[in-house]
Amino acid sequence: MDQAEVKSKLKAFFMSDLGVDGDVLQYDTELFGEEIGLDSVDSLEIISFVDSNFNVSMTGVGKEHFQSINTIAAYIEAHKA
């Protein structure tokens, strides 16, 4: 799976499972900022989604990797088996 596909899958997940409006969600949009407002509950969902779809564990991973779709995708790329 290439990076574009990973990002598109992540975006679809944010829209369908976390109720984020697709119009305002770009790949570099700050996820935990005021506009999208993700919180600790959402991060559990992200971890679970990444684990089961990309086989990459993000448990205990630093905040900086959750900043945007770009940073999550980069983490997946760097850690995929």
Partner: protein
């Protein structure tokens, strides 16, 4: 001293939990520090990181009337009730209207939802699912004929139930209340807390490792009785119940506020409402779940309220014994608190090593966190507190002294209706409703539902960061509540946020979301629950979201009894204002129509095949939904801020004749009682009523009850009495429709609705309809019903 007529005493106790099937066994385990936490035997733990639970081991739960008609949660509750009634020397009440039942629960009949979903979608499971079944089935068991309701504030429900019981007695609505809470252990809460990473794989360790909770199950029952009633029958009295405090965090749907300020406000209110000094409290039975967020917030609240150098306050959590029993927690802990008080014993949190004790000392200062072993301590008052999803905080005081309870301090004050928010299948505003009435709109199909649009959030200034989290029920409640605030021109500020509270009334609450969650974990496994979806399974999430969105930080309770919950929210809100607890209250009725709700109605044979109007003599009704929020304010408070007044809430009444939960037949006359009760409460007579906003929905069995009762109550006058039936336009929206009927009354009385189509029942029983002008209507009776034989009535007047 609290005057005798406002004193509430405890005359009976009952409990069932992992460490005992009765009070004696449970108390013995508590004194000996025996934990009930073991490896679970009842849920699938495959791929799950934690597998502990505190389960009840009891093989006599089925030794009750018709066990097949009851979920495990009702069986647990009935078992504890029987013990408590026997302890109090009470038995069958023969539908005595002065005996009430108030039960708290978080997940209700969740095992029946699981059974239905996984084993053939059997219709017999449906009536066992809602929380509303519990109190009704308890009432049925002992024929309690008063107010029968359930508090659905998740993990604080047990404490709030006992608080509501005292409020009912002090308002003169009951002499005896069977109060408490019940919940059973099941895959849904297990998987949900797993998904939140909130379970401790080694068993909960409150105030110590703080690594998570361990789920338990059980029921606790306290017989609350008016002092005078208990004296008259020379009943044994354990202690007094003094004041309580309920507040909302307005912060997060699952996590408590770190600064614990709203929890502290609940504790502060409980002490203030008790008329005692905080130094009178010798022991606090804390919520102490074992999560870092909860335990640290509690420690902060205790330090700030009692002072960190205060060594007179002993604190412990009893959840190591019982696990976290959710809606039963507060009730079981009330039993521990009362036993502690009456035997001068403080219970410990355990186990602590020497090193852990030293670390605890660092955290809690001089506060006496009791560890490892129970010990003797002279006690005057005990405080028990609980917090819950939705941001609810609750605290209550049990006492050996009568205190100076500040109840009904504003009993003489008028209550104004100042704002309406209407969400229905017709649209999501009052304007849309008025337009639909004008156009004489009808449901477009036999199953209709409300749809919230992005436009609604935009108009209300609700941000995506907030609304993206809402489930359907939360959307309906948030929009109707925010609309009501807007309509009332009420701006929530730091100064008034604690002066206003919310009571949500709902028939099915989070039942649909719970079913959705059950579908997910049945498909994916218990290890794959959704942390995003789990909070929606608790019935009070919708009210919690409204509190977060609006900033309302006062009283916050969700009640669930059936459709009439949409009127009871008004009645209980009136009581909260009369008690002087809040200046303003948002009373709501909210229910949703997800596909599974229509499926239930179809299976039960109450869903019509075509669109039917009220009094159509059909076998079924149009399944609908809706959320209606009604702002109530103390008149002087409303006037001081220049609010417009629609009308006044004059009276609330209730009646019950016990029939099986899920049924109504045989309970008809109880509606007459509810109407008479409301008239008496308002200090008026039948001749003062100009119109009725009813509950007819087209299903003959239901409509005949309304028709029959109104005929008995109004006699010849009925032929000229307009009956406004809102379900004609929205279908049967349960609590949403009951609150809409009240909103219709307010709109007619204020003149905003110049008139509406009304039904008239002739002497021979035939029904005709015609348009009625609202001018001249001065007092309107609003009525509703609930399965199991309960009826409510509210009177609004100019």
């Amino acid at each position: 001293m609290t005057p005798d007529e406002r004193r509430c005493v405890v005359t009976g106790l009952g409990v069932i939990c992992a460490v005992g099937n009765n009070v004696e066994e449970t108390w013995k385990s508590a004194l000996n520090s025996v934990s009930g936490i073991h490896k679970t035997t009842s849920v699938d733990t495959n791929k799950c990181y934690a597998d502990l639970a505190a389960e009840v081991k009891c093989d006599t739960l089925d030794e009750i009337d018709a066990p097949k008609e009851k979920d495990r949660v009702s069986k647990l509750c009935i078992k504890a009730t029987k013990e408590a009634l026997a302890d109090a020397g009470l038995a069958n009440f023969n539908d005595d209207q002065r005996v009430s039942v108030v039960i708290g629960s978080c997940v209700g009949g969740v095992l029946s939802i699981e059974q239905y979903h996984q084993h053939g979608r059997d219709v017999s499971e449906i009536a066992k699912m809602p929380i509303a079944a519990i109190a009704s089935q308890v009432a049925e068991t002992c024929e309690a004929g008063g107010i029968v309701t359930n508090v659905a504030n998740a993990c604080a429900a047990g404490t709030i139930s006992i608080a509501v019981a005292c409020d009912l007695i002090r308002a003169g609505k009951a002499d005896v209340v069977i109060a408490g809470g019940a919940d059973s252990f099941a895959a849904v809460p297990y998987s949900g807390f797993l998904s939140l990473h909130a379970l401790d794989e080694n068993g909960c360790s409150p105030f110590n490792r703080c690594n998570g909770i361990t789920l338990g199950e059980g029921a606790g029952i306290v017989i609350v009785e008016s002092y005078e009633h208990a004296q008259k029958r020379s009943a044994k009295q354990y202690c007094e119940i003094l004041g309580s405090g309920v507040t909302s965090d307005a912060n997060h749907i699952t996590a408590p506020r770190e600064d614990g300020v709203c929890l502290m406000e609940a504790i502060s209110r409980a002490v203030k409402n008790s008329g005692i000094d905080k130094s009178d409290i010798g022991y606090v039975n804390a919520h102490g779940t074992g999560t870092g967020k909860n335990d640290n917030a509690e420690i902060t609240a205790f330090k700030n309220f009692f002072g960190e150098n205060n060594s007179n306050i002993s604190v412990s959590s009893t959840k190591v014994l019982t696990g976290h029993c959710l809606g039963a927690a507060g009730a079981i802990e009330a039993v521990f608190s009362i036993k502690a008080l009456t035997t001068d014993t403080v219970l410990p949190t355990f186990p602590y090593t020497k090193e852990q004790s030293a670390a605890l000392k660092e955290k809690v200062g001089a506060l006496d966190f009791v560890q490892n072993t129970a010990r003797h301590k002279e006690l005057k008052c005990v405080l028990s507190n609980n917090v819950a999803f939705g941001g609810t905080n609750a605290a209550i005081v049990f006492s050996k002294i009568p205190g100076e309870v500040a109840a009904q301090s504003a009993a003489g004050k008028k209550i104004a209706v100042t704002g309406l928010g209407i969400v229905s299948p017709l649209g999501n505003s009052k304007a849309a409703y008025l337009e639909a009435v004008k156009a004489d709109k009808k449901p477009e199909s036999p199953s209709v539902h409300s749809t919230i649009a992005l436009e609604d959030y935009k108009e209300l200034g609700v941000k995506m960061a907030f609304y993206r989290k809402l489930d359907n029920l939360g959307q309906l409640q948030t929009v109707s509540g925010m609309r009501a605030l807007q309509d009332a021109s009420f701006t929530v500020t730091d100064n008034n946020a604690k002066d206003i509270g919310i009571i949500v009334g709902t028939s099915e609450g989070g039942l649909g979301a719970t079913y959705d969650f059950e579908e997910l974990i049945a498909r994916e496994g218990n290890s794959q629950g959704s942390a995003f979806k789990f909070p929606h399974t608790v019935y009070n999430a919708a009210g919690g979201y409204l509190s977060i969105c609006s900033g309302i930080k006062g009283y916050g309770v969700t009640i669930t009894t059936g459709p009439l919950s949409g009127l009871d929210s008004i009645g209980y809100s009136m009581n909260v204002i009369h008690d002087g607890q809040e200046k303003a209250m948002m009373a709501t009725g909210t229910d949703e129509n997800l596909p599974i709700i229509t499926e239930f109605a179809q299976k039960l044979g109450v869903a019509a095949n075509n669109v039917v109007a009220p009094y159509a003599e059909n076998d079924g009704f149009v399944v609908g939904d809706g959320s209606v929020s009604i702002m109530l304010e103390e008149d002087s408070y409303a006037k001081s801020r220049g609010a417009k007044v629609y009308c006044y809430a004059l009276g609330f009444g209730h009646g019950r004749k016990n029939v099986k939960f899920g049924k109504l037949a045989g309970s008809e006359n109880a509606l007459d009682k509810a109407i008479a009760d409301a008239l008496a409460d308002a200090g008026i007579t039948v001749s003062d009523i100009d119109a009725v906003c009813g509950f007819a929905n087209g299903c003959k069995r239901i409509d005949d009850i309304e028709k029959g009762s109104l005929k008995r109550v109004f006699g010849e006058k009925l032929a000229s009495m307009p009956l406004f039936e809102v379900k004609e336009r929205t279908g049967e929206g349960r609590a949403g429709s009951a609150a809409l009927a009240a909103a219709e009354a307010a709109l007619l009385l204020s003149g905003e609705l110049a008139g509406d189509k009304a039904y008239f029942v002739a002497a021979n029983g035939s029904v005709a309809s015609k348009k009625v002008d609202a001018t001249g209507l001065k007092k309107i009776l609003v009525i509703s019903f609930a399965a199991g034989g309960s009826y409510s009535a509210v009177i609004f007047g100019k």
